[in-house]
Symmetry: C2
Subunit: 349 residues, 2 copies
């Protein structure tokens, strides 16, 4: 009996197509000889499409993508597109339309990876970033724009419905990990309304997970811990904006965004989940085979894990670990596709 | 002709009184034999007062403090006070009532200071954090609190008036520094209304400072630079919340919040400016002479600089540099007052 993975692929702009190609190469390799087939459907979305047509993501695009089992995304954007157009009109639109309320961002410091920290210790945590609320909802506006009397507001919207479901997801993930620790990161001493909702929710859901240790820190203090004592973290649950900030910092201390993968997950399965590297389209190095495809490859691993193919996901992870360990000693720089080839060879092995 | 500095002193809670005592000790020492006198008026504000009276900051307190030339604050808060009470009711109330729109936070990595970074390079930048707007305005609210239908909103308010004045201040500071570089940090690809106001304002004010190089980065990317390449920053201008987050990280990479000083500045002079260490009241080590008073002492230096006593401010800074260099080789731990004594001896010298 053959299972077919039906993926939508949004390669996007800049280095997106290059790194996605390697992700798919490794995906093919890890599934070769198994009873799982892959079909991929490319979607031309991003800066190129916007320049050509003025479209970011049409209702037809959305409806078509919704039919797939999962989405692999490379990166979107180029300097010619005004700020916010593709972010709001494409990337965030996908996250919101497909109710990706769990934005999953693991941070693991693999042995041999260069880190800016002198003494990082063991780093292995995952940030569960809320993906459909907070200051990302687009609920802002401005009056008297361009005049000295301009007022520009941004509203962070937080609901019990939205907070509870992501907090419960984070608790479940914490429970499934050896250390069983959950840290809520917020700023409830200033953002008292949203902060207290988050705090109360964590307290309430904690009663369902008595074996999970619960911890809290303010977002400012969390950045200190991330550089001074990152091993204290196991699972972090936080809002959309704090999660955005913390996961870039987390990526930086664990070898950079070239290695950071993420999943935009709809745990109910009502909509396809989307997996993407944390990095952007890096137009300055696009098309030069200079990009590290590891984050895209690890995003494929997250995708497989999400779809229940945990053995294959683990093989990709081990391949990356092995490749990174070998890299540490090497002096030559490999091209994007050479790294993909090496990883494909390892997972096939 | 004698000049008298008339200071309000809010020693506060926890380690606040200990570190403020050392700050005042060094202040006395640096002014000894000069034509500048100091008078200090203590204000009993903070957790102790709140526990005793339920008051945080009365109109009478505010009116009395307003008459002083500047404020030195230690730290406020203890675990027995509900989150937000002293933050909103005292600390932020002072910042807002006295229109402290420039929240000034220098980050210098002094030679010999332990840093979590393996290879920090030269770090010497200042964050100009907006202090009277953004998500700190307290313009949020919640409905159906405690029910599954709860909605909790937080509004970030940004005005052309508020953004322009802090951006102009930051440009002036950048112009007065050797590197003359200003980096705006925001998230204008998501917070499009506020972000574009900030961006347009920086572009407009930049024309008045043609010799200042202008740069932009998203707040998430800024955290990466702070650990990978902190020497790229000279002056950072940013909003209230981003500034809160970035300055804790900045403190961490430059030796910790035990060394981080800050000024809540009202540049017009209409209200007294307030100087305080970035650290909190640290109740766990309070009263044990374990706290490092250096941040409080450096806050005194910022205070003197703000009041035009730049020579004395520089002497304190040099004393701290010397003390830190000496500390690096030492194996014994000094008490709070021993560090204060050492700094006082150096500035008197
Ligand atoms: C591109 C941007 C909208 C996005 C975000 O802020 O979520 C990115 O920074 C990320 O973290 O995926
Ligand atoms: C205590 C808190 C309200 C305060 C802030 O968020 O501004 C502190 O973190 C700071 O940075 O001075």
């Amino acid at each position: 009996m053959t299972r077919t993975l039906d993926l939508a692929v949004i390669a996007g702009d800049g280095i997106g197509p290059e790194v996605v190609a390697e992700g798919l190469k490794v995906l093919d390799a890890v599934l070769a000889g198994s009873d799982v087939d892959v079909t991929t459907t490319p979607y031309e979305l991003g800066a190129a499409r916007w320049h050509a047509t003025g479209e970011t993501l049409t209702d037809e695009d959305l409806a078509a993508i919704a039919k797939h089992e999962a989405i692999l995304l490379g990166a979107v954007g180029d300097p010619g597109v005004p700020s916010g157009v593709l972010e709001r009109g494409l990337l965030l639109k996908l996250r919101f339309a497909f109710d990706h309320f769990v934005n999953l961002r693991p941070s693991v410091l693999y042995p041999g990876v260069p880190t800016p920290l002198a003494d990082p210790g063991e780093v292995d945590f995952v940030v569960v970033r809320e993906g459909t609320e907070g200051p990302y909802v687009g609920n802002g506006g401005a009056i008297r724009v361009g005049t000295p009397a301009e007022v520009a507001n941004e509203v962070s919207v937080n609901t019990a419905y939205g907070v509870e479901r992501v907090v419960r997801d984070a608790f479940a993930r914490a429970q499934a990990r050896p250390r069983r620790k959950l840290t809520l990161v917020h700023k409830h001493n200033v953002l008292v309304h949203a902060g207290h909702l988050w705090r109360r929710t964590v307290e309430a859901v904690a009663t369902e997970f008595p074996d999970v240790t619960v911890d809290y820190c303010h977002v400012d203090a969390a950045t200190i811990y991330l550089v001074n004592d990152p091993s204290r973290f196991d699972v972090i649950v936080t809002d959309n904006l704090f999660g955005d900030i913390l996961t870039d910092l987390a990526a930086a201390i664990t070898g950079g965004i070239g290695l950071a993968a993420s999943g935009n997950v709809n745990p109910t399965g009502e909509f396809p989940s989307m997996f993407e590297p944390v990095h952007g389209s890096a137009p300055d190095i696009a098309g030069q085979q200079k990009a590290d495809p590891t984050a895209a490859v690890l995003s494929v691993a997250l995708l497989l894990e999400h779809l229940g193919l945990t053995e294959q996901a683990a093989r990709i992870q081990r391949a990356v670990e092995g490749d990174i360990a070998e890299r540490a000693g090497a002096t030559t720089t490999r091209t994007t596709s050479e790294i993909g080839d090496a990883l494909a060879a390892r997972v096939a092995g």
